[in-house]
């Protein structure tokens, strides 16, 4: 049973259409990577899924319900949580406030247990808990961003370029953490340009080119696909 299903999606900003025709599907419990080089429309896809922009064409089903016409907060209520590229933290708020706002739509019921969970996954954040988010390093900020997403009791976590701007060591740690999160049974849509590491933790992957899905398949097959190398390095 697919948790989310995208059919013939076309979207963009103003007159400029970025996504032309995207169809994909993610099942419960999967980790699926969406790959593609800069500017192919990965972020646009995410923004459509989380309701920040309305698609020009096509439909998005989440738990068999059409969500393409829903507002971002309704989508959050349904459990689709988007951890955006560039983190979009609240720089003037403390780490704790940032995390707790992740459960803004959930009220206080599960808040403290969720917070405990998040701090278990990211123990480093405990040390920074009362620091303002703007003063954290890039890696720590990314942890807060993911933690904030987890606070919202997600059924599907949409991670947009979580490794962006992190040093190699941190990138590796970040992917380990994502793996850990998904091992707990959470469905994850991972949008990345870091191919190998994404594929190492994803079950399946889609590669976007020119606003449409160019390649898709199981991770282990894709890694050996020469097409992928061409797509990325232009060789």
């Amino acid at each position: 049973m697919s948790l989310i299903k995208v059919e013939n999606l076309a979207a963009g900003y103003g007159l400029v259409e970025v996504l032309r025709n995207i169809s994909l599907e993610i099942n419960q419990g999967e980790v699926v990577a969406v790959l593609g080089s800069n500017g192919v429309g990965k972020t646009t896809l995410n923004n459509c899924l989380s309701g920040l922009i309305k698609p020009n064409h096509g439909k998005i089903f989440f738990q068999d319900e059409v969500i393409s016409n829903k507002s971002p907060e309704e989508i959050v209520d349904m459990g689709l949580i988007h951890v955006p590229e560039g983190r979009k933290l609240f720089p003037n708020l403390t780490v704790k406030d940032n995390l707790e706002l992740g459960s803004y739509r959930r009220g206080k019921s599960n808040r403290s247990s969720n917070l405990e969970n998040v701090l278990n996954i990211f123990p480093k954040l405990s040390e920074r808990i009362s620091q303002t988010a703007g003063t954290l390093s890039g890696g720590e900020q990314q942890m807060v961003a993911i933690g904030r997403g987890l606070m919202g009791d997600p059924r599907l976590l949409l991670l947009d370029e979580p490794s962006l701007g992190l040093s190699p060591l941190l990138v590796e740690q970040m992917f380990d953490l994502i793996k850990k999160i998904s091992d707990n049974g959470l469905t994850v849509l991972l949008v990345e340009q870091n191919v190998t590491q994404s594929l190492s933790i994803a079950d399946r992957a889609y590669v976007i080119e020119e606003g449409a899905i160019a390649i898709s398949g199981l991770s282990k097959d894709l890694l050996k696909n020469a097409e992928l190398k061409r797509s990325y390095l232009g060789l």
């Binding site: 103003g14 007159l15 400029v16 970025v18 080089s37 800069n38 500017g39 192919v40 003063t135 390093s137 890039g138 370029e161 490794s163 962006l164 701007g165 992190l166 040093s167 190699p168 990138v171 590796e172 340009q193 870091n194 191919v195 190998t196 590491q197 994404s198 190492s200 020119e210 890694l223 050996k224 696909n225 020469a226 190398k229 990325y232 390095l233 232009g234 060789l235």
Partner: protein, 244 residues
């Protein structure tokens, strides 16, 4: 022509650009590549005078341009374009290009002439009367290029002019850039589209995590395992070697 020594920029605790040395020679096309967030745009911003470097020297035509304002640097013949296109949205294409052309002439008539000339070079003649906010991504990228070119630069700094374009569009813009070089303009570009980088550049620098990790001809750089790892992630070089 352009020589950068020990250039460093920190944002808070984060070192965005760390002791970078590089050189661009006359009539060359030099590219600067690297994964997202590597510090390429920061480096450009410092070179073009938009950001103050914390340390380091920037020399253009054997004179230091550290501390100069962008417009002064432009008047010396070095112009940058922006990664996220910054058209003058309320103006037409022609008016946009004329703003660049005015840097060399106060005359409206000659600025217009220059703009039309440049438009032809970048292939925008048919779009001259269109509003800039109605242009497609490709159109905007060209406009960005055209405006810069209209200032009659000696050195063009192009920041990802191909991002978001389809292969056909990329092929066209590659031709345009080559044409510009053939007119005697030196070009220093940031690019992600590797195919274009390979095709265009005489030399390539690779920036990762603020540091230069490789330089040389494009093909030698593309084979560099460090570069592949930087791009595709740790272990990628190995995996690819296996796959291939």
């Amino acid at each position: 022509m352009l020589r950068v020594n020990n250039l460093t920029k920190k944002f808070g605790g984060l070192v965005a650009v760390s002791s970078v040395d590089l050189e661009v020679n006359e009539k060359e096309i030099v590219s600067l590549i690297g994964p997202n967030g590597a510090g390429k745009t920061t480096l450009f911003a410092m070179v073009a005078g938009f950001l103050k470097a914390d340390e380091g020297e920037i020399n253009f035509e054997n004179a230091s341009i550290v501390g100069m304002k962008p417009h002064q640097i432009c008047q010396r013949g070095m112009v940058r374009t922006f990664q996220i296109t910054q058209p003058f949205a309320g103006l037409t294409t022609l008016q946009n290009i004329m703003v660049g052309a005015y840097s060399n002439t106060p005359q409206t008539i000659s600025a217009r002439k220059k703009a039309e000339e440049v438009a032809e070079v970048v292939g925008m003649t048919s779009l001259l009367s269109q509003g800039a906010d109605g242009l497609t991504v490709a159109g905007r990228k060209r406009l960005e290029l055209a405006r810069a070119l209209a200032t009659d630069p000696k050195l063009l700094l192009l920041d990802e002019v191909m991002a978001g374009l389809n292969p056909a569009e990329i092929d066209e813009i590659v031709k345009v850039i080559k044409g510009i070089r053939d007119r005697g303009v030196t070009i220093f570009l940031i690019e992600h589209v590797m195919k274009a980088v390979m095709n265009l550049s005489d030399r390539t620098y690779v920036l990762n995590d603020g540091k230069l990790i490789a330089s040389g001809t494009p093909s030698s750089v593309a084979e560099n395992p460090q570069v592949i790892e930087a791009y595709l992630g740790h272990g990628a070089a190995e995996a690819m070697a296996e796959g291939a």
